[in-house]
């Protein structure tokens, strides 16, 4: 039986959302849903797998897979893929997967699509809807011409839904031979991630060009602090050096999904919205009433963010 495989690092990175998506595709293709888990294994792995209708859990463990390393990960997945009649391998589009997924595809002679936001199967054919032009358009790719495919999916906009009938998955350890694999790229130095990450923040206040000048970015920090949230930024002001790269939200920055996202002086270019569209409540503050950001926002204030931001700080504290 051909297989749709959801592949995750441990149980992180939107595994449950992707298993939900994978189940639909497997049903559409009449294929078996397998979950390949690489690296750290969660204790409740089998329970999660059963809830989402997984037929087989394949565990890829090795002393070389304790922490992520690109060359080892690609080779491990290639060995795994060759052991099965794999039709489609779905990966959550993490930073590492951006490179690992296409490398794996080339190694197992598969086709590859990244930036997927929806995957469907009809009449035996797989179609992937992906984001393009920085989110300005969507494209639909049909996968035909290769016997197997690797598809990267942005899981931030997906929802997890348990299977109507839970399964009792078989759990197997995949035989791997990684003895000969040595990483070709050596990490020399790493800047320590300072404090919490905006990807995990519940409240985010983000600033853009509307702030007018670098020194005004402190207003973003002040409101973020008053709300117990984190400060973020659009790419233009990161490029200008007003805010650190780690705070950049959007296509080439962080993908966030906070409960509250306040965008101040941000026009709402698609490239930015990719990183905050999943916020539960989005508030826009912009001088231009026609700014695109208002189309995405739940609440808007039309005005100068240099006046509104301090007023919000006072309103929160008052």
């Amino acid at each position: 039986m051909s297989r749709v495989v959801v592949c995750t690092w441990g149980t992180s990175g939107g595994a449950e959302e992707l298993l939900t998506l994978g189940r639909g595709v497997a049903n559409g293709l009449g294929a078996e849903l397998a979950w390949a888990v690489v690296g750290p294994m969660a204790e409740d792995l089998t329970a999660i797998a059963g809830r989402y209708g997984v037929a087989v859990v394949d565990r890829l463990t090795d002393s070389k897979l304790v922490s992520f390393a690109g060359d080892v990960a690609v080779e491990a997945l290639a060995q795994y893929a060759r052991q099965h009649e794999l039709r489609l391998l779905l990966v959550p589009q993490t930073f590492e997967a951006r490179t690992t997924a296409p490398r794996l595809a080339a190694r197992i002679d598969a086709g590859v699509v990244m930036n997927g936001i929806a995957v469907g199967a009809e009449s035996g054919e797989i179609a992937v809807t992906a984001s393009a032009f920085g989110g300005d358009t969507r494209v639909v790719y049909v996968l035909s011409g290769a016997s197997r495919y690797v598809v990267g999916v942005s899981t931030s906009a997906l929802t997890a839904e348990a299977a109507p009938a839970p399964t009792t998955p078989a759990v197997r350890d995949v035989a791997l031979d990684l003895g000969a694999i040595a990483e070709r790229v050596q990490i020399v130095a790493r800047s320590e991630a300072a404090g919490p990450r905006i990807e995990e923040a519940d409240i985010i206040v983000a600033g853009g060009r509307g702030l007018g000048a670098k020194e005004n970015y402190r207003l973003i920090h002040e409101l973020a602090e008053a709300l117990g949230g984190m400060a973020a930024a659009s790419r233009p002001i990161v490029d200008e050096g007003w805010a650190e790269p780690a705070r950049q939200v959007g296509l080439t920055g962080k993908i966030t999904r906070p409960a509250l996202y306040i965008a101040a002086g941000i026009s709402g270019a698609s490239q930015h919205m990719v990183g905050c569209a999943a916020a539960k409540t989005l508030v826009a503050i912009n001088r231009d009433p026609d700014a695109a950001i208002f189309r995405y926002a739940r609440y808007g204030i039309v005005g100068d963010c240099l006046e509104i931001l301090p007023a919000l700080v006072r309103a929160v504290k008052g």
Binding site: A105, V185, V316
Partner: protein
């Protein structure tokens, strides 16, 4: 021995123009249901690829003796002239009908080109193309050429190491900067954090007029048509709709508007 740098470049529709049309709700999809056909949208070099050329020029300026070849698949006359005006040694067009190629095919052609030149020490690519945002070609190329791939670089430095070269790259990761070392040959993808790419000088533009663009075909590179058969076909493109249910909160003063917003967020338990 000179360091052989190959930069891969792609011609794209100006993403800013596309974005402006999209924001105004005026982006038009052509009759084929998949192409952006507005002739007013300029075609230009993918900005990340321009930054890859910039990275190559900075390696040269750091004192590394090198040759810089810029290669593009399709009929990329204008962007290769631009590359020539920046002072690269050889602009190369791989003639192909790009409407019939997917990333798999493009990677095959680029790999065959690098092999046809007896290899390269450093292949630089933009982190992704701003049209499809796929970013898969550098990784595919790395596998085809057996080279390690280092992605999302903000800086690239090359030093002589024994008979060859070693490359030091600062990568931009979600956890902050990461400095890595890799032996050449290697592929590095360049991100916008590298900084502004330079503009051609007048002298550069003059010199570029005399520079010939090398043209090769898949046949010249020994690539069979079957190896270029697409595996992924674009069948449709559309502009996503945004629901747009914004409630504009007003007040006589910023303080009033701010108070209304905070009260509303508290009432909905978004804020405590």
């Amino acid at each position: 021995m000179a360091l052989r740098i190959v930069v891969c470049a792609k011609e794209v529709l100006d993403p800013d123009a596309v974005n402006n049309y999209a924001l105004e709700g005026k982006l038009v999809i052509g009759d084929d249901g998949k192409s952006l056909t507005q002739s007013s949208i300029p075609r230009l070099m993918n900005a990340y690829d321009e930054q890859a050329i910039e990275a190559a020029l900075r390696v040269r300026e750091a004192g590394v003796v090198c040759t810089i070849t810029v290669v593009s698949v399709g009929d990329p006359g204008e962007i290769l002239k631009h590359a020539a005006s920046l002072g690269v040694d050889e602009p190369v067009a791989i003639q192909a009908d790009t409407t019939r190629l997917d990333h798999h095919g493009v990677a095959h052609l680029l790999a065959a080109f690098v092999r046809s030149r007896g290899g390269a020490d450093l292949v630089l690519c933009g982190r992704q193309a701003s049209d499809d945002d796929q970013g898969v070609v550098p990784a595919l190329l790395g596998e085809h050429l057996g080279m390690p791939v280092v992605t999302i670089a903000r800086s690239v430095e090359v030093a002589a190491a024994g008979e060859g070269f070693s490359v030091r790259v600062v990568r931009v990761t979600p956890d902050g900067d990461e400095t890595v070392a890799v032996g050449a040959p290697a592929i590095v993808t360049i991100s916008n954090e590298l900084g502004q790419a330079r503009y051609p000088t007048m002298a550069g533009r003059m010199a570029a007029r005399k520079k010939k663009i090398t043209s090769v075909t898949a046949g010249d590179l020994g690539v069979a048509a079957a190896a270029l058969a697409p595996r992924v076909s674009l069948v449709k493109q559309f502009v996503p709709t945004v629901k747009g249910s914004c409630e504009v909160l007003t007040g006589a003063t910023p303080a009033e508007a701010a108070a209304v917003l905070i009260a509303r967020l508290r009432a909905e338990s978004v804020l405590r």
